[in-house]
Amino acid sequence: MEAVQLKAKIISNKKLKCNYWYLEFDSRIIAKSALPGQFIEVKTGNGIDPLLRRPISVHSVSGTQVKLVYEVIGKGTQILSERKPGAFLDVIGPLGNGFEYNRLTKKLDKQKTILVAGGMGVAPLVFLAEKIKSHRPVVLIGARNKEQVLCAQEFKDLGCKVIITTDDGSLGFKGRVTELLKGFLSENQKTGKPEHIYACGPQPMLKTVVQISRENNIASQLSLETHMACGFGVCLGCVVSTKTGYKRVCKDGPVFMGKELIW
């Protein structure tokens, strides 16, 4: 579906915890067409500071409403957090390719799919989990500490097996989510190893996930982040190196197969 630009009514915009917020806006047309892994380009405020839109993943969709989860880390997200329900948000979306799962997961048995989320990386994976919940994906969540573990319950409610790790050990295992992934894979050698990894999070984490998936030759899909000026494929500013040359993260991605990337 082609992306559209529209002013969508803000239904709710609440603090989740720490600097994490979730925002719901109403747009039948976007809600109907959005796929897991796609994102929205949001004009956070009026005026020219910040000048550019901000890309935010579709966290989930219910009825005509689109839900975003975002972390306040700078000007744009700060201003976004100050927007009030009832106001209209200038959005462009849905954008990007989204995760590939139908064809892939159809043939998979239960628990053969692993979702790996680092920090805010959970955002697009909830939507994906919803779509493939019948396969009971295993979700590995990593965060700095207890407070920053997001959406765990949402995954559980979808029937996913959720394993958590934190850098400081304040919740679940202690250590990085990539170590958790390594451990999980070796444990499950015998019980038949997983066949597909979906990951979203900081670039260093994604790079390690790709390595791991290669070593264990498991197919992987990564949702990337780069600085985006337009978000819909026109400025050529957001490229990443792939085996077939530069690709636009906003249009050819944000989801890439691990094997495509030159990492």
Binding site: I48, T226, C230, F232, V234, V240, K251
Partner: protein, 311 residues
């Protein structure tokens, strides 16, 4: 009553007749296809394509863009599929739109490349005009053609001999005197000048102690540069006779009017396309309304019509 007379938005640029004076700037509109669904492309005054070179270019390493106060830096490095692939894969969609298509071209190493490119484009009817991009700051050259009046005039007059199509020369603001370069382009036979390309700029991530742009330096665009662009249009307008296509930070009708008053015959919307894809169309309707409200029947009645400011 004048107020209700339908204003005439059409303008002439050399042999080129535009139904309205609002174009989209090279490199900010791709090959238009990306905007399908975001606006009615047929309403645009003209589309200037991303700059094309002879061979395909992969462009510069990332990161290629960053945000700056009221602006942005880009260092795309003229990534493009090359002229043959452009003609084969991109031009057909543009032709179908039935609006003026202006093809922007550049040379990678040798000015001679311009001759080859012009030669190929001259044969294509739907290409209404050719824009000579001799002002791209992102090709790691120590000097741009448009930073030297002599080189500018040499190139333009050579190209002039190769085509009867409307020739637009796009100039760099990184010069001591924009009017000297604009004059050189005019004397060499350019039908119009496009002002301005981006200003060379740099932004540093103080935490990483590194430039935010992979190739270190980028081109500054957006509202931040508007006063610089308006001034250059005004300066050139007072020195040359050929039409000026003004651009630099135009976001809305008010900004566009600044450029007309400063001396632009047409204007080009760039960075704004990323933020509000409909900006160009909103400017066209805004211009219609402004002219109707003020009883202006013809754009020539506002181009360069700047009054002294009485306090």
């Amino acid at each position: 009553m004048v107020k209700h007379a339908k204003p005439n938005l059409s303008v002439n640029i050399g042999s080129l007749v535009l139904r309205n004076p609002v174009m989209v700037a090279s490199g900010t509109f791709g090959y238009a296809e990306e905007f399908k669904g975001l606006l009615d492309l047929k309403k645009l005054g003209a589309i200037v394509t991303k700059t094309i070179t002879i061979k395909p270019r992969h462009g510069n390493i990332s990161p290629r863009t960053c945000e700056t106060p009221a602006g942005m830096l880009n260092s795309i490095g003229l990534e493009n599929p090359g002229i043959d692939s452009f003609i084969k894969n991109k031009l057909p969609f543009l032709k179908k739109l039935g609006i003026p298509i202006i093809v922007s071209i550049a040379a990678e190493d040798d000015p001679g490349e311009f001759y080859i490119l012009v030669g190929q484009l001259d044969k294509i009817n739907e290409v209404c005009a050719i824009e000579l991009n001799i002002s791209c700051p992102n090709m790691q050259k120590n000097k741009l053609i448009s930073q030297d009046a002599g080189e500018t005039s040499a190139l333009v007059s050579a190209v002039r001999k190769l085509t009867k199509k409307c020739l637009i020369t796009k100039l760099s603001p990184n010069v001591t005197s924009i009017s000297d370069i604009a004059l050189a382009a005019q004397e060499a036979g350019s039908d119009a000048v496009a002002l301005i390309n981006t200003l060379s700029g740099m932004s540093i991530d103080v935490y990483k102690r590194a430039s935010k742009i992979g190739s270190w330096v980028g081109g500054l665009s957006g509202p931040a540069i508007r006063p610089i662009a308006v001034k250059m249009v005004w300066e050139a307008y007072n020195k040359i006779k050929i039409p000026i296509i003004g651009m630099g930070g135009i976001m809305d009708i008010e900004n566009a009017l600044e450029f007309f008053f400063a001396g632009s015959t047409a204007i080009s919307v760039g960075t704004a396309n990323f933020i509000n894809p409909r900006a160009s169309l909103e400017i066209i309707s805004g211009l219609e309304k402004y002219m109707a409200d003020n009883g202006i029947l013809n754009l020539s009645n506002i181009t360069g019509k700047l009054k002294a400011c009485e306090d």
